[in-house]
Amino acid sequence: MSSDSILTIKNLQFSYGARIIADGMDIDIERGKITTIMGPSGTGKTTLLRMIGGQVRPHAGEVRYEGKNIPDLNKDALLAARKSMGLLFQASALFTGLSVFDNVAFPIREHTQLSEQMVSHLVLSKLEAVGLRGAAELMPGELSGGMARRVALARAIALDPRLMMYDEPFVGQDPITMSVITRLIKLLNDSLGMTSIIVSHDVHDAMAISDFVYLIAEGKVIASGTPEELRQSESPWARQFLRAEPDGPVSFQYPATDYQTDLFASVE
């Protein structure tokens, strides 16, 4: 564990039935840095974020955030820890019954006693940061996917979290929105002094802004290092993933019985 770690995951174990998500996973997130956790689809990256946020309880191991082991916290302590975290959901998860303004104001109104004028100033400044101050009165149904993602980002940073987590922030975005979101993540991390964790399988954009990268597969960290170190890695996993090669340790086919047996079983 680094002396300036905000989050340390140690010997993490978790599975959904036979599907292993974490099998002795160790991850260290350094304060103030952007760390990306990459891996093939279905490796449990989103579940990992949910374990950090205390929404999913690991079967064993530690998820130590600012010195406190998240799975050991009681409900009140967990809620207190979450106040300093932000999570950008893959599906944006905006409250459909509230306007853009009220969505961003939601955490501020819930956790502070600020006057409505002050709430308004804060909300508009967050919306300005994501370039959507002009959309404050729109409803979530009136937003494009990229706009919804940016509103969700404004809401996630409303209380200036110390740890910001992004779940697949680039998925389903057009190139312009993708570049805007990439720039925003970097800008927010540096200007607000946050620590960022990006979960993604978008190699190009995620590595461009990351200080450190973890590559996970089959419940373990299979490679880690700076983006440059990872590019030079000789690990077959890292090579296949970063170069998008179809052949390698990660199989395209879901485990199945022999193809010929399946095809001709009924004939015999």
Binding site: A80, L87, A91, A93, L94, F106, P107, E110
Partner: protein, 260 residues
Amino acid sequence: MIEAIRLTGEAALRVLARLGRATLFISQVIAGLPMLLRRFSLVVTQLYEVGVLSIAIIVISALAVGMVLSLQMFYTLRDFGSEQILGQVVALSLVRELGPVLAGLLFAGRAGSALTAEIGLMKATEQLSSMEMMAVDPIKRVVAPRFLAGVLSMPLLAAMFSAVGILGGYLVGVGLLGVDSGAFWSLMQANVDFYDDILNGILKSVVFGIIITWIAVFEGYDAKPTAEGVSRATMRTVVHSAFAVLAFDFILTALMFGGR
């Protein structure tokens, strides 16, 4: 044979586990109710959604039920020369039974299904998860106000059903069929007891309100986060609420009026 016993046992265990989850869930909801004293505006919003928006279906149904009841009763009572007690019969039927039960069934169909679908969709679109990550307890913030609003609305809607039903009975009985207006109201006044009839009817509607809203919010919160899961949960709310209302109506009626 063994397989059939095993499957029955499994099904019984699933039902018991679900009942256990529902009980734990409602205890968490009840623990969240005191917070609503400080933020009663959350309840007021839901009173509008759950209660006020159900008024139309309650009033229209009650009027129709009261009119038909009056019509049916009039011809039966006339055979015995007792049509003057029409007001009493209509009022007792509505206040004791039809008001709470039919209002309960309509409430389950209109407000219960809406509550389940809303909470289920919030779950499916990760709105509840995002609320948790913002350190806001969705049971306190989303479920508790809806539960309280449902429990408060149901007796008021049932009372409204009975009142409008009686009015419908009056319009047909007195206005159309020629029953004496004075007899209609005075016999009703003389023979409908406040404690035995009206209060027991209100008590029934309170019980129905708790059960229906409990089923509705639990089904929404426990729904599988998919389109099919929310659809099934909504269907279960209506079906289970209807069964529960009818079963509890029998039990409560036996307890309230059985010893007479």
